[in-house]
């Protein structure tokens, strides 16, 4: 079929032909077309089916407000459901399919719903489907769900990339119609930083849709010339294909630029869309207005469209929906469409004007005071029935009907910060209210200024006011300045089914029923009938629904109120908001200096926050992780092992008040810690719960190096800054994180000293006397590299932690391995670390779960009452010190081989197993290759007094019951002889 509905002229490139497919059928189009205009050109009127009754639907509009003409665009993983044909820029090879129909668009089985529409009235589902109760889940709901939705997802990962960026300007102009262009010229020539954004791919707005003249130029030529000048100004940035989706606090606007949607395929590395956060001093909304329909019997047939849309299709896209067109209007603008189509040789069946005094000085028939009362045509309009003022009826043969019910200013963004539009009687429409987002003003049709001259003028004025320009604004071109003449008219009385919200199938009757049942506030109306909840967000239906509600309520429209609009202005792909933060890049990945070495060793890694840490280091022949972990534990306790602990937070605390500062931050005392010594520190939140634990090493009188757990590094630093700046502002303390600067390794096991003696330069004496347990100091290694040495132990063995500048971490680790060969040194990972700390009874993440106090963890004595420290006071509240509070204990199964589970609950051996008799829970559980037994740590009511007691560990979730005994948490070397050796 060859574009039988093409007209002359228009802004399309006839020299190039593009081919596209719709529902498997091939058609041709031209650059400058949208899918919508191309379908019309090829005389395709039936494009989709409605949501509820599956009524045949065609295009209603020419813009992003389109409720009916929505399709599935592209195929495979790039399939895009619910895409408006009116906003799809044509490209060669474009492929689209109709949706929400089966088996085919023409013959849709669920169209049967339409026959039963009486039973499916608004809210019917709230009143039924209740008996028998089980049927809702099993029958009714699945039925409803299958019918729900319009388009479908591909279920494949979206292969495209998306970017997010930031731009700044003095003035953001939203919409590049006459008002926006004039505002941009005014501000641009004055030298302001301007961003002009428009959702269309051609700037100019309605100027591209009209035949009128500006000065002696054709409107679209004037627009093109203005755009040319603007693009030549360095301080003006034009952003076509960019929808400003929302007005957020403090002048930040969200905008979506469609950089790739008009391309058949994206160039390598280029994004499909970009989410811009635009930071503005001022913004000017020039978003124009949207023509609204009139509701009448069967007003939803393919071919029944907005009059202004017909005009745009004809003037800009050189397309007519049919060779024979009628118009139904309540205002003069409808006649403008008739005139333009007539001039292009389209037959005008008649203009049906509800006004008795409608102008008739045209060379086509005008039916004054008449109304369209019905339409016919199964898959497309064939004729309309008109009620004449004298009561007679006329039928008009036509393939398209242009409807014009007046214009609604696009006030959406003015509502995004809960500003409410106000009713304008003259326009019979809502215009922006006084309560606008700070910095935003409105010009042109969006502000109710409907003539071209008015738009140009208010655009220029808007720019001058927004920027307090002193320069004289440019002269305005001569343009039409016709007043708005209309008779408010919302729907034709007495019709059985007249559509208000065409996508969601909400009729005039539904609105009336909603009132009848008491759903009378606008919000109730919306929610009860789903009016305006479809993908077009009610751009063509909300006001009509409101007007009907006002009529039945006997109130004025403003009395009934308006629903405020929320972002986004038009729907935005979820991926656009995500940008690059997906897949592996969802969060930054933090690697330790010896990561690449560990990888060579075949380490298995685990995510710890954003870090990747070696979990264990499997050797050839080890088939189960337990083998590797058991070996690492045995080998470390038997000789020596090395563990990368770079991820621990490290904070440099300096200043003459450093010691006193730590005294406040930690629950235990630090003032008297000697230089060259390290101390375990327990940090509480102000509410008395344990926040974190770590060590503080006193490198000098006024210099501490503090370590935190990996998980809490950031929050502890933030907390310390809070204490420093907000609580004790005059303390002489300086903080800085050094986590990244040092690669730190734990060297643990009876041979750790021997190994380190081969690494640390000989002038440093590591003997137990010279460098005892908890000693710390600056040393040099491998012939003079500066390093820090701490004699601290998490494993319970004789152990050290040694730190070197990060760039040398990899080399040091390799050196430790070679020098350690004589001791069969092994690297161990976080699993072995975890096993050894449980064997030693050290509390860690699972115990420091934010609900445990020092008392719970058996560290109550550490909370010094002789000084002021964060959390000390509230840790003494009555319920936190009751005799039967949870206490940390060791847990051993009576049968060593029996597995115990972290997260299992503890019950008395006799007595019921239920929440009411819960005695506590297991926090950590491991297999100890040293004790050849499963062991665990747990929190048990008054546990400290119950050592030796037998209990039942139950985990119904994992179907487990084990008899266990409560024991001391210190399974290995309770006296701590090893770590002091």
């Amino acid at each position: 079929m060859t574009q039988s509905n093409r007209l002359d002229g228009g802004q399309i490139d006839r020299n190039t032909s593009l081919s596209f497919r719709f529902d498997g059928r091939s058609y041709t189009a031209h650059p400058g077309d949208t899918l919508a205009s191309a379908l019309l050109a090829n005389d395709v009127r039936l494009i989709g089916r409605s949501f509820k009754y599956h009524r045949p639907r065609g295009l209603l509009t020419v813009g992003s407000e389109e409720p009916n003409g929505i399709v599935e665009l592209r195929t495979g993983a790039r399939k895009e459901p619910n895409t408006r044909a009116t906003t799809i820029e044509m490209f060669d090879g474009l492929e689209a399919h109709s949706q929400n129909r089966w088996p085919s668009l023409k013959f849709d089985a669920l169209a049967v719903n339409d026959l039963f529409s009486n039973f499916l009235s608004a809210g019917f589902y709230y009143k039924t489907f209740m008996w028998p109760a089980a049927f809702w889940e099993k029958l009714y709901e699945p039925m409803i769900r299958r019918a729900a939705g319009l388009g479908s997802l591909s279920m494949e990962a979206d292969p495209d990339e998306y970017d997010k960026g930031f731009r700044h300007c003095d003035l953001l102009i939203i919409g590049a119609g006459p008002a926006g262009l004039m505002a941009a010229l005014t501000a641009g020539r004055a030298g302001a930083d301007v961003i002009l954004a428009d959702e269309d791919f051609t700037l100019g707005g309605r100027l591209n849709s009209e035949t009128m003249a500006l000065d002696d130029q054709n409107a679209s030529d004037w627009a093109a010339q203005a755009v040319a000048e603007l693009s030549s100004l360095p301080n003006v940035r034009l952003m076509p294909r960019t929808t400003v989706i929302g007005a957020f606090d403090h002048g930040i606007y969200g905008a979506v630029e469609r950089t790739g949607d008009h391309l058949a395929t994206l160039p390598e590395g280029k994004p499909r869309q970009i989410l811009w956060r635009i930071y503005t001093q001022k913004a000017l909304l020039c978003a124009g207005a949207t023509e609204r329909p009139i509701a009448f019997e069967n007003n939803d047939r393919p071919g029944i469209m907005m009059a202004s849309a017909l005009r745009t299709y004809a003037n800009r896209f050189a397309v007519t929906a049919s060779q024979r067109v009628a118009i139904f209007t309540n205002n003069d603008d409808g006649h403008r469409t008739a005139a333009d189509l007539h001039a292009k040789g389209v037959k005008i069946a008649a203009v049906v004007d509800v006004r008795e005094d409608a102008p008739t000085n045209y060379d086509y028939e005008v039916l004054q005071g008449a109304q369209v009362v019905n339409t016919k045509g199964r898959h497309g309009l064939s004729f309309v029935e008109v009620a004449m003022p004298d009561g007679s009826t006329r039928t008009l043969d036509c393939g398209a009907l242009g409807v014009s019910g007046g214009w609604n200013p696009n006030v959406h963004l003015t509502c995004h910060q809960r500003g409410r539009p106000v009713w304008d009687e003259a326009l019979a429409a809502f215009v922006p209210g006084a309560d606008l987002p700070v910095g935003l003003s409105v010009a042109g049709a969006a502000n109710g200024v409907m003539s071209t001259h008015g738009a140009l003028h208010s655009g220029a004025e808007g720019a001058v006011k927004a920027l307090d320009l002193t320069s004289t604004p440019p002269d305005l071109p001569e343009a039409e300045d016709a007043p708005v003449t209309q008779k408010p008219f919302w729907y034709v009385q007495g019709c059985k089914r007249a559509w208000v919200d065409q996508q969601n199938d909400v009729t005039v009757k539904d609105v009336k029923l909603s009132y009848q049942e008491g759903f009378r506030s606008v919000e109730h109306l919306k929610r009860y009938t789903t009016l305006g909840m479809a993908t077009d967000q009610g751009k063509t239906s909300n006001i009509t629904g409101l007007a009907i509600m006002a009529e039945v309520a006997g109130k004025s429209i403003p009395e009934v109120g308006t629903t405020i609009f929320r972002p986004p202005y038009t729907p935005v792909p979820i991926a656009t908001f995500a940008g690059r933060m997906k897949g592996q890049e969802f969060h930054p990945t933090r690697l330790t200096p010896s990561h690449y070495w560990a990888k060579e060793r075949g380490a298995v890694f685990v995510e710890v926050g954003n870090w990747l840490r070696a979990q264990w280091f499997p050797l050839p022949g080890e088939t189960h992780w337990r083998q590797s972990v058991d070996r690492e534990v045995r080998q470390t306790r038997a000789s020596v092992g090395v563990c990368d602990c770079t991820t621990l937070g490290k904070i440099d605390v300096q200043g003459t008040d450093a010691a006193e500062f730590l005294n406040r931050v930690y629950a235990n005392a630090f003032a008297k810690l000697a230089v060259g010594k390290t101390r375990y520190g327990l940090m509480l939140r102000e509410d008395g719960m344990v926040m974190d634990d770590g060590t503080a090493a006193r490198m000098a009188e006024d210099h501490f190096v503090v370590t935190t757990t990996t998980a809490n590094a950031v929050s502890v630093y933030r907390h310390m800054e809070f204490v420093r700046q907000c609580l004790f502002p005059d303390m002489d303390v300086q903080l800085i994180s050094t986590t990244e600067a040092w690669a730190q390794y734990a060297v643990a096991g009876p041979n750790s000293r021997k190994l380190l003696q081969k690494i640390v330069d000989p002038e440093f004496d590591l003997s137990n006397e010279a460098f005892p347990f908890m000693a710390c100091g600056n040393v040099t290694v491998c012939g003079g590299l500066r390093a820090r040495l701490f004699r601290i132990s998490f494993s319970g063995e004789l152990a050290y932690e040694i730190a070197v500048p990060s760039r040398y971490g990899d080399a040091l680790m390799r050196r430790l391995m070679t020098e350690g060969e004589e001791f069969d040194v092994i690297p161990y990972g976080t699993e072995a670390l975890g096993v050894m700390r449980v064997e030693k009874g050290h509390a860690a993440g699972n115990e420091l779960n934010g609900t445990t106090t020092a008392l719970n963890l058996g560290l109550g004595k550490m909370v010094s009452k002789k000084k002021d420290s964060i959390g000390s006071v509230l840790s003494e509240r009555e319920a936190l010190v009751e005799p039967d509070v949870l206490r940390l204990v060791g847990i051993k199964p009576l049968q060593p081989e029996e597995k115990i589970t972290a997260g299992g609950h503890l019950m008395n051996t006799d007595g019921p197993v239920d929440a009411a008799h819960d005695q506590g829970y297991v926090t950590s559980a491991v297999y100890s290759p040293i004790l050849n037994s499963n062991i665990g740590l747990g929190l048990v009511k008054n546990g400290a007094e119950r050592l030796g007691e037998k209990m039942r560990l139950v985990s119904p979730l994992t179907d487990l019951t084990v008899d266990v005994e409560l024991v001391s948490a210190h399974f290995v070397d309770p006296e701590g002889e090893r770590l002091r050796a």
Binding site: G165, M581, L591, D652, I736, A741, V804
Partner: protein, 186 residues
Amino acid sequence: MHDLVAITALGGPEPRVDTIGGVTCTEVPHIALASVAARMGKESKSTKTLAKLIDAPTPEIGRWTGATVSAFWAGSDQWMVEAPFDTHEDLAAQVEAAMGDAASVTEQTDGWVRFDLNGDNIPAVLELLCQLDLRKVSEGSAARCSIHHIGCFVLCRTAENYSIYGPRSSAGSLHHAIVTAMRSAL
């Protein structure tokens, strides 16, 4: 002299270099860093001493100054001193000696990875990465900002030359973000 061999933040023996459409992104490991934080009540003394040390006025808020040894503003009464690694590996010690009891000095050399961007149209890359108002960024600017959730410093050396400092452990993610933005924007 010790015999341990350093690797770069991206894990290689040599710095990584990527060139995409007129802009080159270079990993710069040969830099020593030390932070300087004035002691309570010794703010002005710190400022003066630091100025001597870098032989230039101590940088104001959001600026960097100096030549071979330079410094940039890192927080109230806090600065980061930069110097060539080969000649100043012990920068922290040198700065500490110079500052005496006026300030707390901490070695930061390996806390950071640095990427230098050279070429024209760098703002087109940066506007995809950070929230900075690039209209206000000029030669001498040093701003803290967040790039793909990574806390960074962005220094403008000249219109065609920027330095980006990010936490060393995130070097890979930061590099990926920069190069991806270069592919997208250039």
